[in-house]
Symmetry: C2
Subunit: 422 residues, 2 copies
């Protein structure tokens, strides 16, 4: 990791710059696949699976018996862990449910809003070395709580943990489709795959580009994507070995992962560096983590306030506060996806099981975006009902404003009622 | 309006199709302006204002004395109406505030989320024939309640009602900039205009395209845009003159406005048609409304359930329920932006003053998107804190899942703590 001591505020933005991820170069290629799937459906989905994933698909949909087989194949301890995580995630996301509350804004004028689950949602889980069943918990559980009627999962990985988790959280249908063709199938529908209104989930740069393109044509997506990242704020009350472990748990995600340590202590800087080396040697994904650490920064600053100001500028996806008075420091966080307080709250707790969602804004998007929550799976529809007496109260206000905006028919919709109302 | 009686369900999608709004053809031109603004700032903002808006701008920012002059120039009745609307909108949006609630998902594992206002937001209000000061209420009020620190408004219209409303709701700074250059200035910042994290507000197809393009590069936007629309569900309990007035209040927005009537009564069909003709003749914006009505549909269906099923397929921005048992019918609404119940709740009430927001999903986006609300101006940051004892409880779950996903450093972040914990 690069070490920077007491950087001038004017240099912060440059210092904390992320690598630019520009998928424009892929657009033409991705667009062509999306169009092909839109026009030709299942047939070309299978063609692309053969071409890109080197698999011959006969059935796109996973059959019911596969789920029972997956459950039988999975070791009981892992199933118990998945169920425990599911319970915690359910508890936290259920608490986000909102009851409609009728607000009388003026006598006779009642307004309320009601969360209604998005009818059809699609989840994407990439294949690759690690089967990301934890992401099925993070997306499937709030989708079920929200009352989404059709929850579709596309994934090229049929690992037993994927199928077990999909069934546990109530996914309606699972399709063994990956890549751009999966996004196209869910965005436009095929003979087999239902069209959905919103698509969630991680993916490589092709999947990310496909999600951006279908979003431009009106299919909602969870949020813009970027490489995963963690920032740790540590003072001398931290445990350097814990901080090093947290930095490494982010660094092992990929060579483009972002890892930042901001500390007020020169000793912490040195001790974390030492602990990093000691732990790194034992990691199976050492080469990935090493590549990520090469791009990463350890920054020494004057005090905690400067550290928090710098971190709010960075707007990290994950922020660990390994410092004294962590609750007070947490109050100063304005830009972050999810925050981990104290020495015994590793980021991996939130990645898997504490209950919070792990689908979070990367790349500085925490300045404007929230992580996935129950809100991501509902529309909040507003309602209003006005009594004839209420319209007499509010009517002149509407008439005056509509007239001033030059919209006479808007005004007349009130006038015609007020005149009949006497 | 075209009249269709008892259409077959298989034809609904075609019948209710909206005109496709594709801004791809504009992209190169809009992109060039955005880049120019990003690179050259104020100087080219002024150049484009001269070129497109035919105005020579010396100062981009509106001076404090202009607000006092606007207030003095505006007639008291209009100011009172704006203040009344502001009160109702404030009441409704304040009720959307959420207090952090600490959830103990397991003993020693506490999770919560806290809404934090987006630090810098930008509002855009187009120029044109009508000064849309009502949209300043709809965007500025929730921004203020959310605690956004910098609320920037760009608009080419310096109508007194615009300036009065901007000051009333607490907009920080107003810039007299319009079009693509306004979106570019807010997205990237110039010498004078601060960069913002999220951009809100309506605009023509150039502005819409500019918002899409900056969104692709990480600036959040309120929602995708499309022509405004209303659907009315009416049975024989409706008042045809009211229904006609509501249809016209939508039709006057623009020739591309969408207007749909779905009714269970042949008599209502005929009576609304008659009332439309009578009212249309008196409208100043008659030619616009006539053009919009030409593309619009009156549909006769068998019963209310069929009507609601059709309307949920259409997913209208505004839905008026002019029918019996309107509260029961409202329970069946799954896809709509905002819903108006009964004969005395015209859409224009929600457009101006009932308290609900008028920035709503058009173009069928109500299947997946909500209208603007307090949520649109905050990030909900999640927090978690685990005690050493709590980590002993939850630790093995995290370890098992991380190991199964092949992420050993994630597992180790727990193990290193559990080992030191004894």
């Amino acid at each position: 990791m690069q070490t920077i001591k007491f950087p001038d505020k004017a240099t912060w933005n440059t210092l904390l710059q992320r690598p630019v991820m520009d998928t424009t170069a892929l657009e033409a290629k991705v667009e062509a696949i999306l169009r092909d799937v839109q026009e030709n459906g299942d047939q070309v989905v299978k063609k692309y699976a053969a071409e890109f994933d080197k698999v011959q698909l006969t059935d796109l949909e996973v059959k019911p018996e596969a789920f029972a087989a997956a459950e039988a194949a999975l070791e009981p301890a892992l199933k118990a862990a998945i169920r425990q995580a599911a319970r915690n995630i359910t508890t936290f996301h259920k608490a986000q449910q909102e009851k409609p509350q009728i607000i009388e804004t003026m006598p006779g004028v009642q307004c309320w809003r009601k969360p209604v689950g998005i009818e059809k949602v699609g989840l994407y889980i990439p294949g690759g070395s690690a089967p990301l069943f934890s992401t099925i918990l993070m997306l499937g559980i709030p989708a079920t709580i929200a009352g989404c009627k059709e929850i579709v999962l596309c994934t090229p990985s049929l690992h037993p943990a994927i199928l077990y988790t999909a069934q546990l959280v109530g996914i309606s249908r699972v399709f063994t489709i990956g890549g751009v063709q999966a996004i196209g199938a869910m965005a436009y529908g095929t003979e087999t795959v239902p069209r959905v209104y919103k698509i969630f989930g991680p993916g490589n740069q092709y999947v990310t580009c496909a999600k951006q393109l279908v979003n431009k044509r009106g299919v909602a997506i969870d949020m813009p994507a970027g490489p995963s990242e963690v920032a740790v704020l540590a003072d001398e009350s931290c445990v350097p070995a814990f901080v090093a472990a947290d930095l490494l748990s982010q660094a092992e995600h990929g060579p483009d992962s972002q890892v930042v340590l901001v500390t007020t202590s020169e000793k912490v800087l040195a001790d974390v560096e030492k602990a990093l080396q000691a732990q790194l040697d034992k990691l199976p994904r050492k080469s990935i983590a090493t590549a990520a650490l090469d791009n990463s920064k350890m920054i020494l600053v004057q005090d905690i306030d400067t550290a928090m100001e710098m971190l709010n500028t960075y707007a990290p996806e994950h922020l660990i506060l390994a410092c004294r008075n962590e609750l007070n420091v947490a109050d100063k966080v304005t830009n972050a996806g999810s925050v981990f307080l104290g020495n015994y709250t590793p980021e991996s707790a939130g990645d898997y099981a504490s209950g919070t969602n792990h689908t979070l804004p990367t790349n500085g998007y925490a300045t404007a975006y929230s992580g996935v929550s129950l809100d991501s799976f509902v529309k909040k529809i507003t309602f209003q009902q006005i009594t004839p007496q209420g319209l007499q109260q509010i009517g002149p206000t509407i008439e005056a404003m509509a007239a001033a905006e030059g919209l006479d028919a808007h005004k007349n919709a009130v006038t015609v009622r007020l005149q009949s109302n006497n």
